[in-house]
Every structure is written in structure tokens, then in C-alpha cells.
Amino acid sequence: MIADLGIVFGRVLFVMMFMLNLGGILTWVERKQSAIMQDRIGANRASIRIPLIGVRLRILGLLHPLADAIKMLTKEDFMPARADRFLFSLAPFVSVFFALVAFASIPFGNVLHAAGREIPLQAVTLNVGVLYVFAMLSLGVYGVMMAGWSSGNNFALLGGQRAAALMISAEIAIGASIIGVIMVYGSLDLQSIARAQGQLLWGWIPKWGILTQPLAFVLFLTAGIASTKRIPFDTPEGESEIIGYFVEYSGMKFGMFAMADFLETIVVAGMTTALFLGGWQVPYLVAGGFQFPWGATLALPPLVVTLLQVGSFVTKVVVMIFFLMLIRWTLPRFRYDQAMRLGWLALFPLSIANIVLTGLVLLVTRPA
């Protein structure tokens, strides 16, 4: 009983720590990656002086997230006089909460056999994992709308309204684009989708979602970026020009909205990994070790296999985050109407076409 509780707690703790630490580091990644892309150096001045030796530790600017956190926590927490006090305080928590819990049903490894137990490497084993993640991602927008409405500021209200409109156009495309993947792998459980991606096409190509559903991959990624509210779909925020839903927020409440964006980026990267990049699969790695298509085998102990799988999942997520950051620092912002048009007139019909196409291909190839 206690051991079961401990295992559940450990699984949740792993995902929680993964999300929170990666979210903090992403502020650093964002600064440094954009700097290197633009021939700059990036934030590197925050330092800690070690007492007695007097050496200043900078470690490539990694202390900036820490300095940011201290700054955010010690800033004045201002609330406008006309704000709805309860909803104004609740909104950032809603945003961060749903971004945090969305990752729960994404598997980060296959089953771990330890001490006679089978431990699924997934914070929560759900047979409707896909729906759960999308439900949580969609609920995140309630925090944004709440913030826009409760601020008592017309510009914030408009920002919240833009967020809602954008989210609706993106969610439809996300949901529709994913149907193709569900049809191919025949499950709503992210763990069985990940397992099914370990099969081989024609005996040598891993059957990853990006190969079986390339169109869905592009559609999902585009809509996914839109649901993170980051450039090029940052019309709800538009910090510098068009005033977003969080104008009235300051201090850590503002920081939580910024944090929610990063967490949503991680969720989208995790979902893309789970659905299209084979999840925790390493090519040709099965439970007993490597089995290469040319006949060679390499036996590995189960613990090594599990570590390889978790490492593969983390690597894929990090690479996906790099790619999302690359997009964020390359593309200019879509205008409000352009984003809507892209959602309704491009992503949505293409997703439907993808479903029809997938159905036809499955009908032809799958034996009745």
C-alpha cells in the first residue's frame, strides 16, 4: 500500500520536476538561443560572488532565471481598483495549473519491471490520454479570458477576447488533425500510441507518426504553436504593440502567465513527441535490447533499456522545444484576421481532408 503510494508519488514527482525545471530553464534557452541566432551574446551578467574566494560565478547566464524569479517575487503586486479581486488573483493560477497538469498523461517510457511490480512510466495512466491533454490545453484559455475580463481594463478585455478567438480556431484544427493519428494507431491512449510506433514499416522503417501522418504533423504543429500563444500567434499578448490580456498584471502573477506560455510549449513539444516522433521509442530497441533489421542483435538489461527510452523521450522533447523556439524567433506575427483565416480556412479543411485520405488509405491497405 505504502509502496504503491510511493510509486505513484514518484511518477507524478518526475513529471512535475521535469516540467517546472524545464520551464525555468526555457527562459534562459529563449534568451540564449535567440541571441546566438542573431549573432549576439545574450544575457550573461547575472552572477553570484562566492564568499572568501571572491570569484564571480556566471555559468553562461544560467543565473538569470534565478535573478528573474527573485525580481518577480519582490516586485509590487499591483491590483487595479476596478478589478474583480477574486478572479484577478485566480486567473494566473488557472493558466499555470492547466498547463502543468496537461503533461500528466504523456508517457515518458515503457513499463518498468522492478521488485516484482510493473510501473508504467507515465504520471497518470489514462485510456483517453489524448483527449485529456487537449481538454487541459483548452481549459488553459479560461485563465487568459479571466485575466482579460477581471482586470477592469478595456485593452485587457480585448486581449482576452483575441485569446479566446485564437484558441477556438486552433483547438478545432488540433482536434481534427489528431484524428488521423488515432485512426492509424487505433487508440486514444498515448501509451499504446507510443507502443504502436515501435512497429516497423516494410521491416526497417520505424512506424513513427511523422512518417504515417506527415500532413497531420504540420497541421498539429501549427495549431499547437497557436495554442501556446507565442509568436507568430501572439495576438493575445503582443507585449510591445497591441497590449494583451495581462497589461494590469505585475510581479509574480505576470511571471506566471509568462511561465504558462513556456509550460504550454513543453506540453506541445511532448505531445508532438508522443504522437509523431515515436514517444519514448528508440529505433530498433525492443524490450530485450536492440534488434536491427539486418539481423544483428544487442542484448541489454531491462534497466538500461528503460533509461535509453526515457533519455530518448527527453531528447526528443528538447529537440522539439528547440524547433519551436526557432520558429518563435524566425517568423513575424500573424495579424489577427490572418491567424483566424489560417485556422478556419487552411488548417481545419486540411485536417478534414487528412482524415478522409487516411481513411481511404487504411481501407485499401488494411486487410478486412
Binding site: I36, M37, Q38, D39, R40, I41
Partner: protein, 179 residues
């Protein structure tokens, strides 16, 4: 826009290729730099207070008054610079020089750097080569307007910049910044 551009995706990938190319090239240079290749630079940034850019030899920096061999100013208080100055930032009070060969000497020579536009006309106008703008000192700031006024003694103490363009004399600290 042609069809390929309207489709957008191709252009997105060409843009991503450009930025990713920059990223990996600069990243490689950063790594080479940290592995000991000091000439590899991944960024164009000059980290200013730590690193300084080489100054051009003709750059007009903080003024100095040139000294004679005995240490007295070469200035003869002819008022040429004060007259030519478009910003009217020079204030000279003339006095009699103890040497009868030399007509006058400034008893006061103040430059208000808050007004100075660094045009260099004073240097051009000077018949005695008594004022120059070659100290290489660019950082002068103070908390008050009075602190921007540099007097004769401060200007006489300055030396010309070294061959690398760096100042050789200490940067004068304005009166209102002294602890």
C-alpha cells in the same frame, strides 16, 4: 505573390533554414572559442566596459591644455577658441605672464562639457597649438551641471592617448562625484 509564396510553408522553411544556419554556425564558433581558438567569434558584440573598441586616431575626445616645458600652459589667452566656439562653452580670464617675452596667460580656462558639441573648432583656431582633443577619454558624466565644468588645472593634467587609442591619464572625476 506567386503560388509558392502564398502556400507559405516553403517560405517558412527557407526562413527557418536561414536562422538555423546562423544558430549552428555561431554555436560552432562559440564552442571553438571555448576550446581555445581565441580568434573564433560567435557574436559581433563588444562587451563594452570589459572590452573596448579601438578608437580612430582622429577622434575628438576630451580636451586637454598643452603644457610648456616648465609646466605652465602654452595658452596665451588670445580668446580665439572662445570666439570661434559655436556652443560658447569656453570661458577664459586673461592675466599677465611673468615672462615679458610672452604676452598673456589664462588665469581661468573653463570648458563646460555640458554645452560642448565636440566640433573641434577650438583646436583648429588655436594659433599656439595649446588645446587638443586627443586624450581618448570619452566617459565623463556628473550628477549636476556644475560637475560638467572642467577647469584649467584639470585640463592641464591630461595626457594624450597612447598609440592604441586608450587614455593614458586617469579619467577626471567631476567635483560632485567625489566621495
Amino acid at each position: 505573390m506567386n503560388l509558392g509564396q502564398r502556400f507559405y510553408l516553403r517560405e517558412v522553411f527557407s526562413g527557418l533554414g536561414l536562422t538555423a544556419g546562423h544558430f549552428f554556425r555561431n554555436m560552432g564558433r562559440h564552442i571553438a572559442h571555448s576550446l581555445g581558438r581565441r580568434d573564433a567569434r560567435g557574436a559581433v558584440t563588444i562587451q563594452y566596459p570589459d572590452e573596448r573598441r579601438r578608437l580612430a586616431p582622429r577622434l575628438r575626445s576630451l580636451h586637454r591644455l598643452v603644457r610648456r616645458e616648465d609646466g605652465s600652459p602654452r595658452c596665451v589667452a588670445c580668446m580665439m577658441c572662445e570666439t570661434v566656439c559655436p556652443a560658447r562653452c569656453i570661458y577664459i580670464v586673461a592675466d599677465e605672464h611673468p615672462n615679458p617675452e610672452i604676452e598673456k596667460v589664462p588665469s581661468r580656462f573653463d570648458i563646460d562639457l555640458g554645452k560642448c558639441v565636440f566640433c573641434g573648432y577650438c583646436v583648429e583656431a588655436c594659433p599656439e597649438d595649446a588645446i587638443r582633443m586627443d586624450t581618448g577619454i570619452l566617459e565623463f558624466s556628473s550628477y549636476s551641471r556644475g560637475g560638467m565644468i572642467y577647469s584649467k588645472d584639470a585640463l592641464l593634467a591630461l595626457e594624450p592617448a597612447g598609440p592604441d587609442g586608450r587614455p593614458t591619464s586617469p579619467v577626471p572625476i567631476p567635483a560632485d562625484r567625489r566621495p
